[in-house]
């Protein structure tokens, strides 16, 4: 798999096709959401509005299932993560475009954001002292393992998504080169399923990591009531 090509340079910054594609996705997201939510109806929702409400409510329900009462806080980050990863994964099946998530830079950026978010939401929820204390339980000896786990799961998050999407695109390309025109169709269908599954896995893992950070006090004191 070749690295993302540089499309243009901007003040010494090399703008790759991944970034351009992401911009295109941002533009598409922004335009479509603006158009779809211009005239929302309370009493008579249309087909698109119903679909959007279904998506938002599904994400909200998933967050509520893991962290009851915290969906309002986590919905923007987790929802964006799910939608972006899913759409970015599916971009690979469009001829001439590469999925941004097939670029390690993108998946690493997302994994880093998840890493930062875990600590951000954890500290915000628990307080710095309480949050840092959970690295020392049940024993301070386990602190290196905690730290190693934090980094390794972030790297695994980035590598898992990158590896899966990159391999899917490569497999489709190889099949297209070796076989006829319509032979890659099943592979592309598999690409769709895999893209959605990987988006779900990435977002769910991020949600679970964040929930773990926000509920770290429960590990120390299982009797303590959940923090609102």
């Amino acid at each position: 798999m070749e690295a993302a090509s540089v499309v243009f340079s901007l003040g010494g910054l090399r703008i790759t096709s991944t970034v351009v594609t992401t911009w295109g996705l941002l533009l598409t997201f922004g335009l479509s959401c603006w158009l779809a939510t211009r005239r929302l109806s309370v009493d008579h929702p249309g087909l698109v509005q119903t679909a959007l409400e279904g998506v938002v409510q599904s994400i909200e329900a998933a967050i509520e299932g893991v962290l009851p009462g915290r969906s309002g806080l986590l919905l923007p980050f987790i929802g964006t993560l799910w939608l972006f990863v899913a759409v970015a994964n599916l971009t690979g099946i469009v001829p001439g475009l590469h999925a941004p998530t097939s670029d390690l830079s993108t998946t690493a950026a997302l994994a880093c954001l998840v890493f930062v978010s875990v600590h951000w939401f954890g500290i915000r929820s628990e307080g710095l002292k309480n949050y840092l204390r959970h690295y020392l339980v049940p024993s301070p000896i386990l602190l290196p393992f905690h730290l190693l786990g934090e980094f390794s799961r972030t790297i695994a998050l980035a590598m898992r998504l990158f590896g899966n999407i990159m391999s899917l695109e490569m497999a489709a390309l190889l099949v297209l080169l070796v076989a006829g025109l319509l032979v890659p169709v099943p592979v592309l269908m598999l690409h769709i399923v895999e893209a959605l599954v990987q988006a779900y896995i990435f977002g769910t893992l991020a949600l679970i990591y964040i929930a773990g950070g926000m509920q770290s006090h429960a590990v120390e004191n299982p009797e303590a009531p959940p923090i609102e």
Binding site: A36, L40, P76, T80, L104
Partner: protein, 248 residues
């Protein structure tokens, strides 16, 4: 597989921008719409609950009012029954009183009617008897009957109590003449017999004028002034008639 730090940094920025875009143009308006709809549904539910509560309150109120009505109706019915019973008793008492009065009145009226009927029957019987006796005695009237009546007259004269004859004896000058009426002519023997009987009974001689009076039918009538001794059919029938007149 290489990591481009520029792309890494730009992707982080891109993702943060996307968070803002989706939060601004997707989740916020959609959640606001959902919240508004939930609020509307909640308001509708609250309104429905309030309506239900009002309906239940009204139902309880109407049930209470219905129970009150039932109690009032039962009390009114009981009062009405009591009044009806009292009125019934009062009217029955009055009716019984009127009935007793009417019975007494009917009994008195019936007794009066029976008495009147008996009187009428007695009167009619007396009239029939007089009519019968008159017809019978008129047909039986004959010289033989008169002779027999004359004998009876003599016997009755002899049997008269002294107190009846006392007024005739008292006056020395009074009643020396008399009249003897008969329906048929009397023989000399009969005249002497009567004269002798009268003289003997009064103890003095009395001159008798013998007069025929067919109105007597049969028998004789002795008149000494105002004093009379009558033994004739006409006299007896006259007694009948007088008795009938007194009955009425």
């Amino acid at each position: 597989m290489e990591l481009d730090w520029t792309t890494f940094a730009l992707e982080i920025i891109n993702f943060l921008a996307l968070i803002w875009i989706l939060e601004r143009f997707l989740s916020r308006p959609v959640l606001a719409t959902l919240a508004e709809r939930r609020a509307g549904i909640e308001a509708t539910l609250n309104e429905a609950r309030a309506t239900e509560a009002r309906a239940l309150a009204l139902q309880r109120q109407f049930e209470s009012r219905l129970a009150d009505w039932e109690r009032e109706k039962a009390a009114a019915r009981s009062q009405f029954d009591a009044q009806m019973a009292a009125e019934h008793a009062r009217q029955m008492e009055g009716l019984n009183r009127d009935l007793a009065t009417e019975r007494q009145r009917n009994a008195a009226r019936e007794a009066h009617r029976q008495e009147t009927l008996q009187r009428e029957l007695a009167s009619q019987s007396g009239a029939l008897a007089r009519q019968f006796a008159s017809a019978l005695l008129t047909r039986l009237a004959s010289p033989e009957i008169e002779a027999r009546l004359l004998e009876i007259f003599v016997e009755e004269l002899s049997a008269l109590p002294e107190e009846r004859l006392e007024p005739l004896r008292a006056g020395q000058n009074g009643h020396r003449q008399g009249v003897l009426r008969s329906a048929h002519p009397l023989s000399e023997e009969q005249r002497r017999q009567i004269s002798g009987a009268v003289d003997a009974r009064l103890g003095k001689l009395v001159h008798l004028d013998f007069v025929e009076d067919s109105g007597l039918r049969a028998g004789v009538r002795l008149s000494l002034g105002a004093w009379q001794l009558d033994l004739s059919l006409a006299g007896e029938l006259g007694v009948f008639a007088e008795a009938g007149r007194l009955d009425h």
